[in-house]
């Protein structure tokens, strides 16, 4: 799976500021096509109408959390292979294990920096 900077990336977070920050960091990393959603429900709707090359999602959102979104994505044959990175302040071991079991490709603990985001995206795409 190669890293294509022109692929559509979906950022899912209920904090508009965080969406803006991740959007800007992705732009700095060279990603041109970035979309966003405010929670898991909106993200799932968008994912069913457009194919995304990468999902970067927060965990703690309502009504659908990022964890629930991950499970729904992995349970949907059409979406199951979408690379999924969790970016969250939930930093307990059980969270990481639960996300890993649910099929997350990588996990970033907030607060994070641009280098960490870049490194995890590259790791997911085997760069």
């Amino acid at each position: 799976m190669a890293l294509d900077l022109s692929m559509p990336v979906l950022v899912v977070d209920d904090y508009k500021t965080m969406v803006r920050i991740i959007r800007n960091l992705l732009k700095q990393l060279g990603f041109e096509n970035v979309d966003d959603a405010a929670d898991g429900t909106e993200a799932l709707t968008k994912m069913k109408s457009q194919r995304y090359g990468l999902v970067i999602s927060d965990w703690n959102m309502e009504p659908m959390t990022g964890y629930e979104l991950l499970k729904q994505v992995r349970g949907d044959d059409g979406l199951a292979k979408t690379p999924f990175i969790m970016v969250t302040a939930e930093s307990k071991t059980e969270n990481v294990i639960a996300a890993k079991k649910a099929g997350v490709n990588n996990y970033i603990v907030k607060p994070f920096n641009a280098q960490t985001l870049k490194g995890k995206i590259e790791a997911v795409f085997g760069e």
Binding site: I21, W59, N60, E90, S91, E94, K100, N105, V109
Partner: protein, 208 residues
């Protein structure tokens, strides 16, 4: 026991047991409960209406005891309130850290030599990224403040329940009774405090 006489033995025994302990609200309520029950036995043989009223008072005292136990004051004092204080301290630290990071980035840009355009552009880009990173404090502090608000709401709910019971205006069930639990609730804790939770290096062990 002779129902026509006030039964003081049980009250005397209770007071004897309590004599070395600190008198607290639970002790007073227990004493009121024992006294009410004892008087109720005495009155039963003389006045049915008063006896019924005393039983009603005894029932309300018992219900207030349940509310006070549901309030879990020790848990509040030893866990929730100190935790809320630590969350607010962490908010202060995070905002201070973010402010310093943004100021340093701005100062670095102001001090940069614009003689070499390539170097200057690279410096500005690098510092702009630092500013984006620093702005993430808003998300973290928002979550911490939400946890403090949740603690205040819980205290408010429990106190309101006790006050409602005491004033007999209406009956409010303790917050925990019948509350639906979500299988994911144990995983939703918000940001960890410094020294708690795992850091990025720990997380990376799971994604070799």
């Amino acid at each position: 026991m002779d129902a026509s006489k006030l039964n003081l033995d049980v009250i005397k025994d209770f007071l004897r047991d309590q004599c070395d302990d600190e008198v607290n609200l639970s002790t007073i309520i227990r004493l009121a409960e024992l006294t009410t029950n004892s008087v109720a036995e005495l009155v039963k043989s003389h006045d049915v209406e008063t006896h019924s009223e005393l039983l009603n008072i005894a029932r309300q005292i018992a219900e207030t005891k349940l509310d006070i136990s549901a309030f879990r004051a020790d848990e509040m004092h030893e866990e929730h309130i100190p935790q809320a204080g630590r969350e607010l301290d962490a908010v202060v630290d995070a905002t201070e850290h973010a402010t310093n990071a943004i100021m340093e980035a701005a100062e670095t840009i102001m001090a940069a030599d614009d003689g070499d355009q390539d170097t200057y552009k690279s410096t500005v880009n690098e510092q702009v990224v630092r500013i984006f990173e620093a702005c993430s404090f808003q998300d973290i502090t928002g979550q911490r403040i939400a946890k403090v608000v949740a603690t205040l709401t819980m205290i408010d709910t429990r106190i309101t329940s006790i006050l409602d019971r005491i004033s007999a205006i209406e009956t409010v069930e303790p917050e925990s009774a019948g509350a639906e639990t979500n299988a994911e609730d144990g995983l939703l804790n918000g940001p960890a405090l410094r020294g708690e939770g795992v850091n990025q290096n720990d997380v990376d062990q799971y994604f070799p």
